[in-house]
Structures are given as C-alpha cells and as structure tokens.
Amino acid sequence: MSSAKTKTLRDRTTEYRLLVNALRKRQQVASEPPKPKKAALSEFTRHAGAIGKDIQETTLLLEQLATLARSKTIFDDKTPEINGLTAQVKQRIATINGKILALQTLQRQQNGGEGRQAVEHHSNVVVSLQTQLASTSNVFKDVLELRSESLKASGTRKEQFIGAGSVRNRRKLDPPVDSPLYQSERRQPSGYQPQNEDFVALSLPEMDEQSSSQMLLLQDGQSSYLDSRSDAIGSIESTISELGQIFQQLAQMVSEQRDVVQRIDANVESIDVNIGAAQNELLRYYSNISSNRWLMLKIFAVILVFAFLLVMLA
C-alpha cells in the first residue's frame, strides 16, 4: 500500500480500471438483466478512466513545458519547441474538455434507470474531472505567464550584452503594452472553456520577426515613432486609471457622508417626537387649567363661605 501511495497518481488509475473490469466480469457472470445498465455503467467508468489518464499526460507535458520556460538562456532559444509543446497542450486540454462534456451528457442520459447512489457517484466523478482539468489549465496559464516574463527578461539581458546600438532597434516588448494583455489573461474564466484562453503571450516571440519597420531617431524627441506612440498610449492608460481612482474616491466620500445623513435623519425624527410629546403635554396642561377653573371656583366659593361665616360669627 505504501509503495502505491508514493508512486504517482497514474498507477492508481490503472489499478482502479482493472478493478472495474474485474467487477464488470463478475457482474456479467452473475446476472443478465442488469447487464445493459452495467454495460452503460462500465462505459461511463471507462470514459472517466480515459479522461483521467489524458489529464495526467497533459500534466506531465505541462511540467516539461514549465522546465523549458524556466530555462534562462539567452542564445540557446528553444522557442519552436516551446511553441510546439504549448500547441500540443492546448489541443489536449480542448479534447479533454470535449470528452468531459460528452461524459456529462452520457451521465445525464443514463440517469433514468440507476439508483440514487450511482447517480451521485457519476456526478461526483464528472465534477472531480472538471476540477482537475481546471487546475491543469490554471497551471498552463501560469506557465505561459512565466514564459512571457522570461522572454522579457532575456530581451533586456540581450540588450545589455549586445550594446547601445540596439536602442534604436528596440522591439515592442514594453511592459505598458503588455499590461492590458496580462490583465486580460488573468481575468479569463478558468477550466471549463480553455479554448477561449487568450494566448496573446505567445505572440511575443513572433514580434522578433518584425524587422522591416526600423525607425530612425527624430530631431526633437529622443525616441522613435513607435516608442512615442506607445508612450502616448501608455499615458492615456495611466490617465484612465487615475480617473478610475478618482471615481473610487468619490464613491467612498459619498458613502461616508451617507452615515452623516443618516444621523441627521435620526436627530430630526427625535426632534419631531419630542416636540409632539411636548405639545401633547401642553395641551393637557391647558385643558387641565381650563377645567380647573370650575374646581377653583368651587374652592373659592367654599373659602368665601367660610369667610362669611367668620365675619358673621365675629
């Protein structure tokens, strides 16, 4: 058991498939009527096993690609191999995705005649395969980014070694140009539709072939035409991001003031309540006083009667 655990995932899958086949044979020997269901069941597991194996092969290829991309060579450029590998991996991911979708439809077709546990198991298997594919395509994306970064680094290093004459022939590997490309790559939806991934990072090696438009220095600026264009566009981009920040600050300020407004609202409501209650009290007081007159008259009358009595007696 421990040796099986230390080996890679691949071994377990073949074990699993052998087990499934053995079980299937046993089932076939045991009973006939559930045979079509079991056949369909084993077809599902077969497909799932095939997809799992494909995913692992793709992971291996990705590892190779990653080691190639990480190699920091300046002169020994393995660009064609890297491109070939990348195309291969992309194709594999696309086919695996297609197979997973087919598996999903197959699973849904068979949902009628099976027990609840089998249905859950199938859906679990499909989901786990999809997550594996998603993680694989994430790794692929990381490798592509690594590749473009190393290309950039090798470009600058080439410049350093080859010398100042290359300033005029500077190719457009500028980061400000790449930043929208980078951002658009990072925001891609993961996994389920890897065919739509933005493989713009691969176009960087193609730009090395542009040799025709060599620019000469102009009298006023110290940069060539293309560089000045990229500078202008870069400044536009920074302006737009500044605007974005300003908008965010605006929203923040307004939301801070919302609290203040709510406090004012609460205060004014309490004022309303207080004044209403006070008015109530005053009304009662007034009614009290006005009704009190009668009582006061009676008291006065009683006192007057007493006074009269006193005067009369005295």
């Binding site: 009298q219 202008a232 004012i264 205060n267 004014v268 004044i275």
Partner: protein, 196 residues
C-alpha cells in the same frame, strides 16, 4: 503648429514625381507664396528620394520639418510642417494619407499618371492644422484631461457638501436636545400639584 504642405510622391522611376499635392500657405505674404510653393515641392521630392524603402523620417530645414514615409513599393508621402508640430501626429498623418491613396488608386494608374487629383489631401491639410482634434490619441487624451478637471471640481463640491452636512448634524443635534428639554419642562409643569 501648422501643416504647410502634403504630397504623395512616386520615387521609383528615378525622376521622382509628386503625384498629388495640397498646401496651406496662408501664413505667408502673397508675393512669397509662389517661391515657397516651389521650395516645398522641391523639399518634398528630395526628402522622398533620400529615404529608403519602409522608412519613416523627419528632416529639419530652416524652420520647416518634413516628415516622410516611404512604402516598399517606392511610393512615399511627405508632410511639411513647422517645428512645433508633434512628430508622432505628422508621421501617423503621413501613413494615413498613403493608405488612402493606395486604396483609391490602383498600381498601374500610380505608375502611369503624372498627376492624380486627390481631393482628400486638401481636407487633410485643413483638418490637421489642429493636431489636438485630428489625431485620435491626442483627442482622447484631451477629453480625458477635461474629464479629470470636471471630476476634480466634483470632488471639491463633495467636500463642501461634507462640511455642510457636518454643520447640519450639529444643529440637528442641538435642536434635538432643546426639544427634549422643552418636553421635560412641559411634563414637569403638568405633573406637579394643582396650581392656583
């Protein structure tokens, strides 16, 4: 910042021929215009000849600058401007002229004719007198700057609003306390012993 002269020059058969020209010499006095026009034509054709295929260049002369773009086929377009005109705008203008020219007229006509009427050149001369409006990038930048100014004013307005809201809060607080005192006093007068 002015554009003086725009022209499309055919350079491949060696006497280079300006196929289409347009000029705006309104800033010069009437009597100088003839000689200056001659000079512009000569300047444009010479510069176009001295550029190589697929190259863009800007050449200074007195207080004029000629921006030229020469296509690999030998067809080139030249713009003569003053020194303050932004180089990038001039070069993009020049490329744009060439694109339109090649789109409108086919290769044989270009190779055969000596002078082709290209009315769009006059429009371009007129339009590009103000590079800020004509060039897309500069226009976008200008609009963004205006928007930024507007947003700054908005933020100042919001700060003022904040101050006013603060004062409002304080006053409503005071009012609330006062009304509470009012209520308490009224209640006190009501609850006490019978008054005469």
């Amino acid at each position: 910042m002015k554009v003086f002269h725009l022209s499309v020059v055919r350079t491949t058969p060696t006497p280079s021929v300006p196929l289409a020209t347009a000029s705006d010499l309104s800033s010069f006095s009437f009597f100088q215009r003839g000689s200056i026009q001659e000079f512009m034509n000569f300047f444009a054709t010479t510069v176009a000849e001295r550029t190589q295929d697929g190259q863009r260049q800007g050449v200074d002369q007195d207080n004029y600058v000629a921006y030229v773009y020469r296509q690999p086929g030998g067809l080139s377009s030249v713009a003569v401007t003053d020194k303050e005109y932004p180089a990038r705008v001039a070069l993009s203008l020049v490329a744009k002229i060439l694109d339109e020219f090649t789109k409108e007229f086919n290769a044989e006509r270009i190779a055969s004719a000596d002078k082709i009427a290209f009315p769009a050149l006059d429009d371009y001369v007129r339009k590009y007198q103000d590079p800020k409006q004509a060039d897309n990038i500069m226009r976008v930048q200008q609009e963004l700057d205006e928007t930024k100014v507007v947003l700054h004013k908005t933020i100042e307005g919001i700060l003022e609003r904040g101050e006013k809201l603060e004062s409002l809060v304080d006053r409503s607080n005071q009012l609330s306390d006062q009304s509470k005192m009012f209520y308490k006093t009224a209640k006190k007068t009501n609850a006490c012993c019978i008054v005469m």
